[in-house]
Symmetry: C2
Subunit: 270 residues, 2 copies
Amino acid sequence: MQALPVVQSGATVALIRKLAIRLALTPDELPILQSIFSVARSVRRHQDIVTEGKRNRVIFFVLEGLLIHYRIMRDGQRQVINIVVPGDIVGAPSCFFDGALYSVRSLTNSVVIAWPLEELFNLSGMQSQLATKIFWSFCCDAAMSAEHVVVVGRRSARERIAHFLLELLIRLQGIGLADERSYRLPFSQDVICDALGLSLAYVNRELRRLAQDGLVIISDHKVEINDVEALSALADFEDHYLRPTPIDELIAPGIAPPILAGSRRDISIR
Amino acid sequence: MQALPVVQSGATVALIRKLAIRLALTPDELPILQSIFSVARSVRRHQDIVTEGKRNRVIFFVLEGLLIHYRIMRDGQRQVINIVVPGDIVGAPSCFFDGALYSVRSLTNSVVIAWPLEELFNLSGMQSQLATKIFWSFCCDAAMSAEHVVVVGRRSARERIAHFLLELLIRLQGIGLADERSYRLPFSQDVICDALGLSLAYVNRELRRLAQDGLVIISDHKVEINDVEALSALADFEDHYLRPTPIDELIAPGIAPPILAGSRRDISIR
DNA sequence: CGTCGCTTTGATCATGATCAAGGGATGTGG
DNA sequence: CCACATCCCTTGATCATGATCAAAGCGACG
């Protein structure tokens, strides 16, 4: 990993803004988190930033790039637990265990900010609200793992693949990296097969069939979903689990979102 | 659900003590949580305490009984996300979403304490450390879902079953409900098959084979694992993900666990 | 030009699903 | 106290989804 100044790319600035919105940061919390963001690190693709078994007491704010949480089994097979997209905070739950439970690897060149877990606990004394928001984010990520269990446990190969592509669509839309029905998929099919517990040959075949049926066309690392409705029906996909109740509504139930109300887009970065 | 006074059964008292240890409660935190525990509720078996899709702003401390997190699919199939044992805190991540993501159902008669999520957020102002500990617990639960993905995604039926039985062994040992190599399993095989994404007939057959091979004998709802080592090797089971770093070590890294050091067994209940 | 990474396709195999039926408890109502 | 029902476990036969093995195509890149 190599250090580099952070507030450089337009994408990163936009992303920090999105993160601030997602965590419902108040005007006083924003600079605190921003001070953390003074130095980011670039990570070349195909590098582990967390290694299973090794002690990890750091959480990462992902600003750019795609990464995966994964485990290598004793027979060499890989299971991908989760795709990580910009705006995600990774490191939990591994940082709560003596040795990391899973490895985290970049699929593309990425930009991340490493933040010592210690700081999070410090925050919970001084700025408890902010700490709560970060913990809340971890808890919401747990919903994705739970959903993943359902996908892998009870769905056919075709449904799994459709679900995978739709989940990515919604998540990338949330950070401006997908449009209405398409996005770039900058990794190869083996990531899909390892995420879904399927063989590479079969994933390939099913993708081909989905294309023949006019549902999804993947070409040149670009996913194009012809009919999102139809594919969602096929996959039994619902996006609830990707849309938590905004944390400010939870903290102040009943009341209109207090501090940022009406001006959620006006957060200034820098 | 019917209200009943809580500090009645010996099992419950022991359990509260264990929960206090697990959360590394300090002498001042303990009474706060105990005040919550003034009224528990008994839940008859086979009842939902959380229903998928319905708004849920409550978390539950489970004192007695076994429960499951589950989802019913559109074709009627069920996927069990997680077994819940006494000492667990359930409700997350569902309580962070508009509608619950999964249902929670009792497998046996149970005793739980329902606690409004609001109180947790209140706590994060006044008693931020305690709130942090509860959030930490949620995050650690996420590790079980992640592990579940690996089990269902990349293991054979036999391995999955072995893993399931071992996970339960370790978890029940942690709360004194299992001895060295056996425990009561007070539910039928369909829970196992729905947890592991297998068919009932096949789970039954594989259980029978495990018994024939002298690895595990289940009879009359009692699981007896003949050789835990051997079964762990078969399942590629490691219990790391069930053993988080104690929260007090994380909060005060390097220092010996401060307040309860050396007297972790001396917490007084009542 | 040759190698490497990725996709594609074919042929065959096997794990685990599905369908079907019977059996042993336990419980319940007549 | 018996008849019957229900729940759960068990086992057999057959089927199919998806794995495995093998090989070829196809860029990109050095």
